[in-house]
Symmetry: C2
Subunit: 282 residues, 2 copies
């Protein structure tokens, strides 16, 4: 099931063409996006997602639509969704730089899509991951903003290629590492680990996205009495942590059970607690 809505709230046939061949989103991957989970009619963390989209757009000198426009498009997607048969929905917001040589009006729309069976399986069963070099220095983000390291752009070919490399290695997910061996992020997720009563994630300053799901988890965990820490993390710590997860809007807090072919600690009770803390806030 797919639905597609424009910013004026109009529904459009998702199987009909929408973008011109010379749209810069197509020609150059020149645009930004966000993916948002909606459950039983309600989008999760909509404002943090809109804030991040705006931040990504600013890093790209792109003027995104107003929040009110996105609210209208998201509303149209939610309104058309068959909630009774499908209680969960992935909403994607896309904003490109518009047509090449045009007047600068961005192309923007919201789509809604069913969650695949494979995705739901990964949520339940966890994933095996491999570490892959991202080839960047962790202090590069501030020094070289043109590398767009902390923007969620439509230029995701490398992220997709990394996931194919994981598959070739018999795994399902990737943890990118920086040139100093420190942990960055997954191609479409944030790395979270538990050490005793502390949840840890690497800092956005290292050239990674601020995770909205990780942010929501840390907010709730903090209220529930956990310590939370945003700090550089070595790969070694992933192996010795009490729990390791990849957090993302749609896959939620997915447990990593295997890293580079070796089992890491999997504590079902801890996983239930962490997932529970996250879920309890919605």
């Amino acid at each position: 099931m797919r639905v597609l809505a424009l910013l004026d709230g109009t529904h459009v046939d998702p199987e009909s063409p929408l973008l011109r061949a010379d749209d810069l989103g197509v020609q150059r991957g020149d645009g930004v996006f966000e993916t948002i989970l909606a459950v039983d009619g309600k989008p999760r963390e909509l404002q943090p997602h809109l804030d991040r989209l705006r931040r990504s757009a600013r890093l790209m000198d792109l003027r995104p639509p107003e929040d009110a426009d996105w609210h209208r498009a998201v509303g149209a997607v939610l309104e058309q969704w068959p909630w009774e048969s499908e209680p969960e929905l992935a909403v994607k917001l896309v904003c490109t730089r518009g047509v090449d040589g045009g007047d600068g009006t961005p192309t923007a729309f919201a789509t809604g899509q069913s969650l695949s069976a494979e995705l739901l399986r990964k949520r339940d069963e966890g994933v095996s991951a491999v570490t892959l070099e991202r080839g960047i220095d962790p202090d590069l983000t501030e020094r070289a903003p043109w590398l767009l390291l902390s923007a969620k752009t439509l230029s995701y070919a490398v992220n997709m290629a990394a996931l194919r490399e994981a598959e070739r290695r018999g795994a399902e997910e990737v943890v990118f590492t920086a040139t100093d061996g420190s942990v960055l992020e997954g191609p479409t997720s944030t790395v979270v680990l538990a050490e005793g009563n502390t949840l840890v994630t690497p800092p956005p300053s290292a050239g990674i996205l601020r995770g909205t799901t990780q942010g929501a988890l840390f907010r709730a965990a903090s209220t529930a009495g956990w310590n939370t820490s945003v700090e550089p993390v070595s790969v070694e710590r992933l192996r010795t942590a009490d729990g390791l997860w990849l957090a993302s809007s749609i896959r939620l807090i997915t447990q990593v059970h295997t890293l580079d072919g070796e089992r890491v600690t999997v504590d079902p009770e801890l996983h239930r607690r962490v997932r529970g803390i996250y879920e309890a806030q919605y």
Copy 2:
């Protein structure tokens, strides 16, 4: 002026939508492209461009259309072009991974577009460029193929952001540098320098595209009695070279007259010779 053709040779209105919202070219910058100059009805270096497109596709595990299909699409673009009023044309080939969750059929098309007045001005007058860190190690390409460093993908947001950074610095072009300070390439061009009777360009193994225009220039220069060398180049050598150019299909062999705010050697006679050697082969 714009024209648009599909692989079966059909002409399509370039101002009508062509791609679905869930095309992976739009959603993930997941595809490859080539830009080819055609002059007086003839495309230049078509086969090297098709070969490079195939190579880019292979690096992305993408199965591109057959050359015969591209020939048909390019033929349709050339056929519709008003050569008498516009003797030059930029032909772009685009191939995406197709629709998300689809049957894997790529989305492919060819467009034709007029050359902008600004582009023609740069060809004639040369450009000022700035060096910008690309943040990668030159020996990363082989070690980390998932970074797609030598594939011409649709994920060009960083290349575009670098050009905006150049503009902010009062320049028009960029020369990317690696972590060891060596020269890589421009965001959409290959770096070429002249030292005495030798033309020099950095090696593709450093994580850059093989330049089709640079390749054509070196082939012709070699026949014309020049030495050509593909070797690591320091930024310092750009400053002391007898001539410095950015080579690309559409802008051809564009002279760089200023690097990081300082004039570099501009020898109009040398420029005429080099451009002449390149042009003489067509």
